[in-house]
């Protein structure tokens, strides 16, 4: 009798188990997901693919392309209507060029606790275009500030700094303080330099420039007016706030290691992890690499904070500087964070969206966020809550500081979104050219930015001012 019951129970369990497998059932479905060459993002996709296969019996084939060729590859495939990819991962800045070819996220995925868990700045702004949710954030990106706690907490350094500059050494509240600190630690003969940022044309330089300018040119009372005037679509990039940002950026390049002008983000990380600089700004990867003893000479000394702000912000409406008692912080969501979407030409749209949801679910994405090479930075509220997860790579004070800086940045009141416009590369190309000229000293900051502004206005007219204005307002979350 007992045997029979056990047998029956066992049988029932097996049946139940079988019913659990492949839910929803996508057996026989093979998805193709396009991504940049691993490990960043691609390894997150591959890891999620394994989990998805166990759950739904469908397979995902991750196709990798070099980072700088991913954009042309996706555009040509979408334009030709080739059904090569079921899922594409891309930078939000490119989405305006893709939106005509993407499918909308199914309605049932846009509600519930999982949906609410996504940080609002991603959920309601970055993933949305023209009122439709066309992509899913699978990675969070914001620029933060990192520094060497061993230098900053050293009493001798603190005393010397206070004596020279008159205020306490600590994470800078304003960009002027940031430059002071850089100057203080600029000691080439000791192999230590002030700061590291990206300055190279084609090396993500303009995001770093944007981070500097945001504090001066993104006025808290005039949301969405950072890059363009939201009413006329005139370029704002040559206003005094921007010029000040460029001046700071150029000054930072002189307080950096000798070949800083050749730095892309990778070299920035390497400089900080190699112990060559006292501070740096950039994406969350700096923190993860610096804290890792296998990759860093200064593991254990990671200090993180949100980007410095400014007490003076340019008011474009009044044409004057506004002064604030407390510094206004305008953390910049550089790059915005990788998105995943499903093209209209895909033959497996339902399965594709299911995979995307699985990939961005709290468990899967949480695990990816703490895995070193995954390239996934936090973007869900649940990512920040679980400090336990992070202790695997950070020491406790490092973890707390890191998470706080990430969280404070994306939840800041005056957080600044990255530019998303159709024809994005046309705008950034001229910016990169002029930036490299200004950094080399061939033109003054004002001249460089005037050229950029003139060219941007010309491009806007060429592409259609009204269309661009509507797109810009949509991107900034302004009503049309």
């Amino acid at each position: 009798m007992k045997k029979l019951l056990t047998g029956a129970a066992f049988g029932a369990l097996m049946a139940a188990g079988a019913a659990q497998a492949c839910s929803p059932d996508f057996s026989g479905v093979t998805l193709s997901a396009a991504s940049q060459t691993g490990p960043y993002i691609a390894s997150a996709l591959t890891a999620a693919a394994e989990g998805w296969k166990a759950k739904t019996c469908g397979t995902v084939n991750v196709v990798e392309f070099p980072w700088s060729e991913l954009y042309p590859k996706i555009v040509t495939t979408l334009v030709a209507g080739d059904a090569a990819f079921d899922v594409i991962t891309f930078a939000p800045a490119w989405s305006p060029d893709f939106t005509p070819y993407l499918t909308e996220m199914p309605a049932d995925l846009r509600q519930g606790a999982l949906w609410e868990d996504i940080a609002p700045v991603y959920r309601d702004r970055l993933m949305v275009w023209d009122g439709k949710v066309l992509s899913q954030t699978i990675d969070g990106d914001v620029h933060t500030y990192s520094y060497r706690t061993d230098l900053f907490e050293n009493p001798a350094e603190q005393a010397a700094f206070k004596a020279k500059y008159g205020y306490d050494l600590g994470a800078p509240q304003t960009w002027s303080q940031y430059l002071d600190i850089a100057e203080f630690f600029q000691r080439p003969d000791q192999g230590l330099w002030g700061t590291a940022e990206a300055f190279r044309r084609g090396g993500q330089q303009f995001w770093f420039f944007f981070s500097h300018a945001a504090a001066y040119a993104s006025h808290p009372d005039h949301p969405g007016s950072f890059f363009f005037d939201p009413d006329t679509m005139d370029a704002q990039v040559n206003n005094p706030g921007w010029v000040r940002g460029l001046e700071d950026y150029i000054r930072a390049s002189k307080l950096a290691p000798p070949n800083a002008l050749q730095f892309s983000f990778g070299e920035t990380i390497a400089a900080h992890a190699g112990g060559q600089v006292a501070q740096s700004i950039g994406w969350g990867d700096i923190g993860v690499v610096v804290a890792d003893p296998k990759q860093s000479k200064v593991a254990g000394t990671l200090g993180s904070a949100i980007l410095p702000g400014s007490t003076e912000v340019w008011n474009y409406k009044t044409g004057a500087w506004d002064t604030f008692d407390e510094p206004v912080f305008s953390p910049f969501m550089a790059f915005g964070g990788w998105q995943a979407a499903v093209p209209q030409s895909s033959l497996n749209q339902q399965a594709a969206w299911d995979f995307v949801t699985f990939l961005s679910s709290p468990e899967v994405s949480g695990k990816a966020a703490i895995t070193g090479g995954s390239g996934v930075n936090p973007y869900r509220a649940s990512h920040f809550e679980n400090a336990q997860l992070w202790s695997a790579i950070f020491s406790e004070p490092e973890a707390k500081g890191y998470l706080a800086s990430q969280r404070d940045s994306i939840e800041a009141k005056n957080v600044v979104l990255d530019m998303r416009l159709p024809g994005y590369f046309s705008y950034t190309e001229v910016l990169e050219i002029e930036l490299s000229k200004a950094l080399a000293g061939d033109v003054t900051p004002q001249q460089a930015l005037d050229t950029v502004a003139a060219e941007w206005n010309k491009l806007t007219d060429e592409f259609g001012r009204d269309a661009q204005k509507a797109a810009y307002r949509a991107a900034m979350g302004l009503p049309n």
Binding site: Y40, A42, N61, V63, G81, E267, Q295, G373
Partner: protein
């Protein structure tokens, strides 16, 4: 050569060898370095300056940084096939251009172009045909018309062998940017008509053969032209068929040139990036894309780049050694005249 001349030659070779091989050595050791060993400053000697590790290689083979084995396999197959095919038919064409007179009337050439271009434009813009359908109608008609017209007596200059040769070579003067895109478009359209070409062995190989031929023809032409024609004429008197003359007499005499050209074609195809990027996706992606992919958004991971680059270099080095041998024996053959 004099003794002293020999020493100078040796010295020169050594200097150049150092210049040439030092970067390769650097790449070799960097592939065994850890990130701090790279970021901290240049280190030169394994075990002395830094502790070598196999991490970069493990990463490469594990597939964390792109599908290594798949791309290696694709590269090998496509390269070998395309190079052999291109060298073979290119040598044939070069021989023809050296030994036989060709006459193409300029009028016929212009007519071909006019019908091809005009026909294609009219069909796509005027009648709304798809690209492939329009091409399928316009190009063959243009070719047939041109061939027929060529038989007639036309005014105007007659293009000879030198011009045909120049036409071949001019195919390589056109920047590959738009070509890659256009090829991708037509391949996609042909794929929609039923013959998948994107991300296939044949699609990629055909493209490579077509764009390697100009170089093969241009280079082999001079090698063939340098061979004495008396030997062939003697064979012709003996009524040996033309193809046997080519295979048994001419080709062996031109062996050094053939080997060199084959080597060059091999190098071009193995290392070609743009066409491979656009004409392949998952199945036939080749090594150069993998190498380029190591240059990631988050920065230059030199150890990974080095490992990938080495993998791409090593087969080529082996081949160079093998072909170097072949060239030596070619020297002996060439002396037997």
């Amino acid at each position: 050569m004099t003794r002293r001349g020999r020493y100078w030659a040796l010295f020169f070779c050594l200097v150049w060898a150092a210049f040439t091989l030092f970067p390769i050595y650097w790449v070799l050791i960097t592939s065994f370095k850890t990130p701090p060993a790279v970021n901290g400053g240049p280190t030169y000697l394994p075990f002395i300056d830094f502790a070598p590790t196999l991490d970069a290689w493990a990463d490469l083979f594990s597939g964390r940084r792109g599908q290594f084995f798949n791309t290696f396999y694709s590269s090998t197959l496509v390269t070998l096939f395309a190079s052999v095919a291109a060298t073979a038919i290119g040598a044939m064409a070069a021989y023809a251009l050296v030994r036989f007179p060709f006459r193409v009337k300029l009028g016929a050439g212009l007519l071909f172009f006019a019908i091809a271009f005009g026909g294609y434009q009219t069909l796509t813009q005027g009648f709304g045909f798809g690209r492939f359908d329009a091409a399928l109608r316009a190009f063959p008609s243009a070719l047939v018309a041109a061939i027929l017209v060529n038989r007639l007596r036309l005014p105007g200059p007659v293009l000879g062998n030198a011009d045909i040769l120049f036409w071949f070579v001019s195919q390589r003067m056109f920047p590959p940017i738009v070509t890659a895109f256009a090829l991708f478009l037509i391949y996609t359209e042909i794929g929609r008509a039923g013959f998948k070409l994107v991300d296939t062995f044949w699609g990629l190989s055909l493209a490579y053969i077509a764009f390697s031929l100009p170089i093969v023809i241009w280079l082999m032409r001079d090698f063939f032209a340098a061979l004495p024609v008396e030997v062939e004429e003697a064979a012709m008197v003996d009524a040996v068929p033309q193809w046997r003359i080519f295979l048994d007499i001419v080709a062996p005499m031109a062996a050094p040139g053939l080997a060199a050209t084959f080597m060059i074609t091999l190098a071009f195809v193995w290392n070609e990036f743009l066409f491979a990027l656009f004409l392949t996706n998952a199945r036939w992606q080749t090594l150069p894309i993998l190498v380029a992919g190591q240059n990631s958004q988050r920065g230059d991971e030199w150890w990974a780049v080095s490992a990938a680059a080495l993998v791409a270099i090593i087969p080529m080095m082996l081949l160079a050694a093998v072909l170097g041998r072949m060239m030596r024996s070619g020297l002996a053959l060439g002396a037997i005249k």
